[in-house]
């Protein structure tokens, strides 16, 4: 399993790492039992993502997808941000190994949650609810992963 150069770049030098102290919205997804957890904080400016930070516990792909999604989202309208798909994330990174495709869901789900958190805090309707994979009780992030060699 080999990561693209872009994945390695975002993994090694992740953009927008941290927590915004005065965040307008926060999204947290994942679970340490599964091996990856992501927290995203956003500042919203005129219904656009003004600033954005993330923290991720996870593999190389989890960190890289988190990093790229913050770059993609910055400046987007909230509607645009929640429309980012996992394939767009993977594509933006020059592809992900099949076993790692689930990581891009982590990143898009985290962003969606942060946006909805902001909207709800404003007394507005959440717009991403229903499209967040991690909220689906049947969602199994491991489902796609079993196509790689193992023990060494």
């Amino acid at each position: 399993m080999i990561y693209s150069d872009k994945v390695m770049d975002h993994f090694g030098n992740p953009r927008n790492v941290g927590v915004l102290e005065d965040a307008d919205g926060t999204g947290e997804v994942g679970n340490p039992v599964c091996g990856d957890v992501m927290k995203i904080t956003i500042k919203v400016d005129d219904d656009r993502i003004g600033d954005i930070r993330f923290q991720t516990l996870g593999c190389g792909a989890a960190i890289a997808t988190s990093s790229i999604v913050t770059e993609m989202a910055k400046g987007m309208t909230l509607a645009e941000a929640v429309a980012i798909t996992k394939s767009q994330v993977a594509e933006e990174l020059g592809g992900l190994p099949p076993a790692k495709m689930h990581c891009s869901v982590l990143a898009t789900d985290g962003l969606k949650k942060a946006v909805d958190d902001y909207l709800v805090s404003q007394g507005r309707e959440p717009i991403a609810v229903g499209t967040i994979a991690h909220d689906d009780p049947d969602f199994d992030p491991h489902a796609e992963e079993h196509d790689e060699a193992c023990e060494v």
């Binding site: 516990l57 593999c59 076993a99 992030p141 992963e145 790689e148």
Partner: protein
């Protein structure tokens, strides 16, 4: 990149240049098929039989033909599990394997479980060993085969094979051990251990990849796994890899010759690694720390609050090759079945680090790892949204 430190000898080893030297003539000049009658074939056959005798001598086999050359540890394991269980056309019965076997043993065991056999997986104790009492309790009248690995490839704990084999034989079953990680590293003597079959892999002992051996005690019935021309006394078909098998034998002899000096050297390096790493990295723990006996060259740690692959990739960027104890170093999210089997919590199993030493490891490699690891762990923990919670829990459990 400046210094590179290879610290993953349990994954694979470089072929020793002396082994390459020994193989080379058998590629180009002495290339005969060992089954051919003319001079070139006889020369190959003699070299092959010589390699067989050297391996037999090293492991104290009673006869050279107890050595079956295979394509690696995986084939040896598959052949032993399926070949012994189904010997003589048997199509049902009970088999026992430990829960922390390599998948080259577990998968054939599970296959047997789907094809008429019943399989019991023995849980090892938190000290990383399988206890003979547990095995005795699991044995049944219809148990036909028990397979417990000698040295575990992730945590390096050594199993009490002689006792386990004795308990198995008292119960009337056959005993196989996967010794891919132990051969050459510690003494391996089939007579003293009393095993019926044992698996070995060439690329773990500075021999070539794609070579292996199955030791099969004389008189033990086996149903053939690879069928065809009837090579290896009809026990394993396929034109023999003469060069590779000579490489295997040569590599094993070098391990034997160098072990008296090498085993203590690696043990000392490993012990320094363990104490310095535990001193340097807050909350780090040695897995199976209470093991009564361990391989000289493997140490496995849990680094709470860190994910294994991310740690591995940052260390790689610093020129250090290690592995995460996770069962699937390259791809899967599944935490190591070995760590889970000894009671390691799932969230910690995701953050394990296997360091394995070998012939070319020096003090500088250890320094390199220790020096590089702290900032990597620091950085990853600072990116972990749950780290404070983890620390609080650790503080709780540690008091």
């Amino acid at each position: 990149m400046e210094r590179t430190s290879y610290l993953d000898y349990a994954a694979t080893t470089p072929v020793d240049p002396r082994v390459v030297e020994a193989m080379l003539p058998y590629f180009t000049e002495r290339f005969g098929n060992a089954n051919s009658l003319y001079a070139l074939g006889r020369e190959a056959a003699r070299a092959l039989e010589d390699a067989r005798e050297r391996v037999a001598r090293s492991i104290d086999a009673a006869r050279p033909d107890e050595i079956i050359f295979t394509s690696g540890g995986t084939e040896s394991d598959n052949t032993a599990l399926i070949g012994l269980a189904t010997a003589g056309g048997r199509s049902s019965g009970h088999i026992i394997v430990s829960a922390f076997e390599h998948h080259a043993v577990l998968e054939p065991a599970w296959w047997l479980g789907k094809h008429g056999f019943e399989v019991t997986e023995l849980t090892p104790h938190p000290d990383g060993t399988v206890h003979p009492d547990d095995l005795a309790a699991a044995l049944r009248d219809d148990t036909v085969l028990v397979s417990v690995m000698h040295g575990n490839n992730e945590i390096g704990t050594i199993q009490p094979i002689a006792e386990l084999a004795a308990v198995t034989h008292a119960g009337g079953a056959l005993f196989h051990t996967d010794a891919a990680q132990t051969l050459g590293k510690i003494e391996f003597d089939v007579a003293a251990l009393g095993v019926d079959a044992a698996s070995f892999s060439g690329h773990k002992i500075y021999g070539p990849k794609g070579t292996g051996v199955l030791y099969l005690k004389g008189g033990t019935r086996l149903s053939t796994y690879l069928m065809g021309g009837g090579q290896e006394s009809k026990k394993r078909s396929g034109t023999q890899n003469v060069a590779g098998n000579i490489g295997f034998a040569t590599a094993l002899e070098l391990m034997d010759a160098e072990r008296p000096a090498e085993a203590p050297r690696l043990t000392a390096l490993r012990d320094r690694l363990v104490s310095e790493l535990l001193g340097e990295i807050e909350y780090a723990q040695l897995n199976a720390a209470e093991a009564p006996e361990r391989l000289p060259h493997i140490a496995n740690f849990v680094i709470p609050g860190v994910e294994g692959e991310a740690m591995l990739l940052h260390l790689d960027a610093a020129g250090i090759a290690v592995s995460t104890g996770s069962a699937c170093s390259s791809g899967s999210l599944k935490p190591s079945h070995v760590l889970l089997s000894i009671g390691c919590p799932v969230e910690f199993a995701h953050g394990s680090l296997r360091v394995s030493l070998g012939r070319f490891t020096t003090d500088e490699d250890i320094d390199h790892l220790i020096g590089s690891l702290a900032p990597v762990v620091e950085r990853l923990r600072s990116m972990n949204p749950l780290y404070e919670k983890t620390v609080a829990e650790l503080a709780g459990t540690h008091e």
